[in-house]
Symmetry: D2
Subunit: 364 residues, 4 copies
């Protein structure tokens, strides 16, 4: 299976950056879940390019649901989301038909698809394809919310500027989901945007880290081997373009600690089991322990920069150089946050459906 | 699918720490590959506990192949590896039948399996189960070698002591595969072992980082969405117990860089395409680009420590405390390195078989 | 995975009978295969209702390809087919919102989806959804043809009238693929149509048998267990609505024979291996033997009949009766034949791609 | 996935006819189900060869459970069944190393595995491998029984002698499960055995039909497309060696009927919904309707016969002839019946687990 992910709840992605439309098929979601199209539109708007720190390409990103929703509720059969491409300026991409952009998939696509791939705007590799994930993810987020499972992602760092970490998680998640530019510490927003604009002025780009919290996931979800919760979440996170690292709980920092600093003591109070710390990010032995799931994701700088770069001609395989034109993002970290929320929600719907049956998400 | 991973080449794991035997079924590997049992034994020995820095439990770890190999070669049908458990001292685990060890899967297993799990020595969650992965991985490593694809992992850091990074990768891999304690800079070995012994003396444990290089993987392997090479590799790496972070190429460091510092220029020379740097770790758009694959894996400190810890009684759900007895590793990073090699090899065999057909690995 | 089938080549179905559009996503097909839209249109026309023996609902069934084809060739990324529903007369279905049609999925859908399913015209269960399979199958048939693998299906029986069996298979397949009403013996066509019209006059319907031959499939495709060629082909054939039986080679007749009458002797001539008879339908031990694959499929009579039937009210669960109105087929066997060809082609593309790699179908 | 079947509950098969052991791994079965080893032994005995109508090869078929059962109950982690091969007389198979037995997989295995397969006694293709399915199936049957879902299979026909069809299904199932030679009409047993002995005397073999009823399966299980209940059941039934046809309800007979004779009227009484007839075999639109599931399976005559047969030499590809020696069954239909029960039980456990969650089977 290539462009389909998930078992009980699955999502299939299709489309190219400059084709007539892109979209997604969300299958297996429980019947009877209310689908709020204004929420979908809101999520889509978070992914959209905005202002000086994003690409000048502007898409309406209007989502049409053409199957699987009847009388405002999910039917249980495949939900298909279609998004028309409108603002495609393919003439900008002429030279890119044969010059591989460094950091992009042009060369690897050319090897894999023997030159038959739609190269325009990155084709099927374009970050634009994540729009289908966000539309499908919006339904998944609504499904989880009906079980009081909530998700929020903030920009933990951008261009070296750091946000504060999660503190009171339900409050922080609520705050994040009300923001366009998702930072917990309001004061870092201006600084991050300044750094992005600096990079833009230099014809360059910046990367960042996302940090996600999931609150309300019941204990007992995940598998000991292969389909550990970390495995399935990292699987889908690493398919977001530009993601190069994923860690859970204290992640890489645990490598420098001792066991006595890494173990989370169990406590019980009022019939509730919890751990005093959450170094393990809510996952032990691959299975949720009822504490918040904490995930950090590294996003590399947008590879499209305006400086001259060394590369090869894909037809002749000769060395050449390239100056990318067109409309590109000096940063995608602020747009990627809703993609992270979406894919995590899709994966958790799948895991919960496998664990508790296909009706569970709609039974509340 | 729970304890089975892979599509064209798959591995199924079974067994518990204190059951009669553990093992693995490796399916889909091409027919006609020579199976060198002494190589399997060598790989098993790398996973075994040794000396002062490992558990006092010593298993012969003799691998019996009971199917799928005929006249010394793979048949193409399932290869089953069986490893008998011998040195099981279940009496050590009495109290652990009802007290959840912090950092371990006892509590999550208890929720998921409603108390029916075999708790002895961690049962099916035990790191001991990785022995089956190492046996199966040894055949996968041999299969890849016949196509000149080689893999090596070193202890990049342990308890805060750092090894050097990869330099000349084929030479470094060859060196690593001749070592029991895998470091590139010989001088750090003593320092790491000292730190592990320090922790042991304190009834504590330490973690570390593994760095893996894969050399010789052809370009064009992996998928743009969902089954990106990063996705499938992280999926299996996160099912190794204690792994809490995975990154590719420069990974999390890319989050603080600019695009001009992260893109890898393409060059061609003598009909060979390569990149001048390898910040992306050999993967672009989810697909191999022919450069070495670079993976770093964070391993948390062994959760079994000898200090008193706060926890709950799984039967009464009351608060209590626990002092773990038994035989445990103050560090597993040196033993985990062969597990990383093994699971990466298994996953690459699957990807190559999907890409080029089920015979490809045996056609050289 | 629910509405997605296949591993290396997969198809995802979506849509409802009276929604805005239906369609399919075909993924994993090799890059570089020419997509002949007029061939797709021809295949769609074979599935369309025609004349007195089909439903009065007439759909243009114009297929729009919105992704995965670039410059007339497959790109290797998902191909999405969209077919708009036009001639939907939902007012005919009022009573069917709460009365279960015997022989249909109304009751089972109502239990599974708790009443949230789109009931109009059978919703997602409608035979209309097979249009997406036919569109995707047309590309699969073209892919196979490039490797000289051809498929043909005839109406072996309809309402008790029997066609002759396959004789010279390549010639017979060529003939069938030129016919709208697929019978090998021209003289039975009129007789079959007469029987269908008889049933229609009686407010009733008829069933039939399809027989399919695949010619040119290389030996060595399929698996010994679970994914036998019979298993994967029957899996997809049984998802065509109304199919209730599938057999291979001499099928059920073998049950009454002796081994000496069922075994196919092997012979070699001019370096070619073949069997003298083909009682096993080209499959031995689950794996193709190079002889034509022979499949017979039982199609039950269309459950929509105009006679009064006993049933229940899905809301009150009371007994009631029902007279179906609307536009229905007195037979679907003549329309089902192209669906059989399509799903078999899709499955064989998947099997060949798994066996020989993702490029094989385009390498000729 | 090749030798693994199922999603939430899966089974992995391994071993060869003349290897040291064969077996199966059953994964995903709910924790807490009692495992009655004497029931497993009883099921194994039904599969064993007995008396004059079976092969002279006699295996103890003692099943060792080496993982996944703790204190007599399932743990929820993989259950591994191991069966040692004892009565292997490999010297009988000398000539079969290079002569393809007609009707067997020797030739197709040789093409697929390039001659590396273990040819002794059919290797991995041997009917003997079904012993692992029967062991795993015994646990699945016990799991279903705890939810009052019961399964029974009878020999509907053997060598042209027909048993009566199911009448009172729960009573018939109880009867069948008490019999070694499973016929509903006691008087046909002797006649069937006589026909088998006749064939044996002639150095020949016979086939037959199995008919299975499943009673107690709740409505609402199965999917509309691809994973219809017919699809998943036929998938696994067609991987039993020698099965060449599968039908549900009235199956192929429906092809000759009218809709008015094929539809099953719905009725309700005492709050229970049922159909007055069961022509559709308990499945509508791919989903169970609460009525008994009825399945018929065609089993071809054992291909091992003692008459001289024409074949090829697999090494030289020359024409030659072959007289099979060794120990073979003149019929397998009476032994296949428990295999049918087993694979159906395994598949239903998977479907129920997907539908209602992984704990459902153990919650009663």
């Amino acid at each position: 299976m290539k462009n389909t992910f998930g078992t009980s709840v699955s999502v299939t992605l299709f489309g190219e950056s400059h084709g007539s439309m892109i979209g997604a098929v969300l299958d297996g979601i429980a019947p009877g879940i209310s689908v709020d199209e204004s929420f979908i539109a809101k999520q889509m708007s978070l992914r959209k390019s905005v202002g000086s720190i994003s690409t000048a390409r502007h898409e309406a990103d209007e989502v049409k649901i053409v199957s699987g929703v009847f009388n405002g509720k999910t039917t249980g059969t495949p939900i298909t989301f279609i998004i028309e491409n409108q603002d495609t300026r393919s003439r900008d991409y002429g030279e890119l038909a044969y010059k591989a952009r460094p950091g992009h998939a042009d060369y690897t696509a050319s090897v894999k698809y023997h030159g038959f791939q739609d190269f325009r705007g990155g084709g099927h590799f374009s970050g634009r394809i994540t729009a289908g994930l966000v539309a499908a993810g919006a339904v998944a987020i609504q499904a989880l919310a009906s079980r009081n499972i909530i998700i929020g992602t903030h920009i933990l760092s951008c261009a070296g500027v750091y946000d504060r970490c999660f503190e009171d998680i339900p409050t922080d998640i609520a705050k994040l989901n009300s923001l366009d530019f998702a930072v917990l510490n309001d004061s870092v927003k201006a600084e991050m945007i300044e750094k992005i604009e600096d990079a833009k002025r230099d014809g360059d780009s910046v990367g960042g880290r996302l940090e996600t919290a999931v609150y309300g996931l019941p204990a007992g979800v995940g598998e000991p081997w292969f389909d550990t919760l970390e495995s399935v979440l990292s699987h889908i996170l690493f398919s977001i373009p530009a993601v190069k690292g994923v860690e859970f709980g204290d992640g890489f920092m645990l490598a420098d600690r001792r066991g006595s600093q890494s173990n989370d003591s169990f406590r019980s109070a009022d019939g509730r089991i919890f751990t005093e710390t959450n170094h393990n990010g809510g996952i032990l032995g691959g299975i949720s322990n009822g504490m918040p799931i904490i995930i950090r994701t590294a996003v590399k700088p947008t590879p499209s920069i305006y400086q001259e770069q060394q590369t090869i001609n894909l037809n002749t395989l000769d060395n050449t150089s390239l100056v990318i034109k067109g409309r590109h993002d000096p940063a995608i970290i602020h747009r990627a946050r809703v993609v992270a929320d979406s894919v995590i929600a899709l994966t958790l719907c799948d895991q919960l459906s496998l664990r508790f049956g296909t009706d569970w998400l709609a039974q509340n």
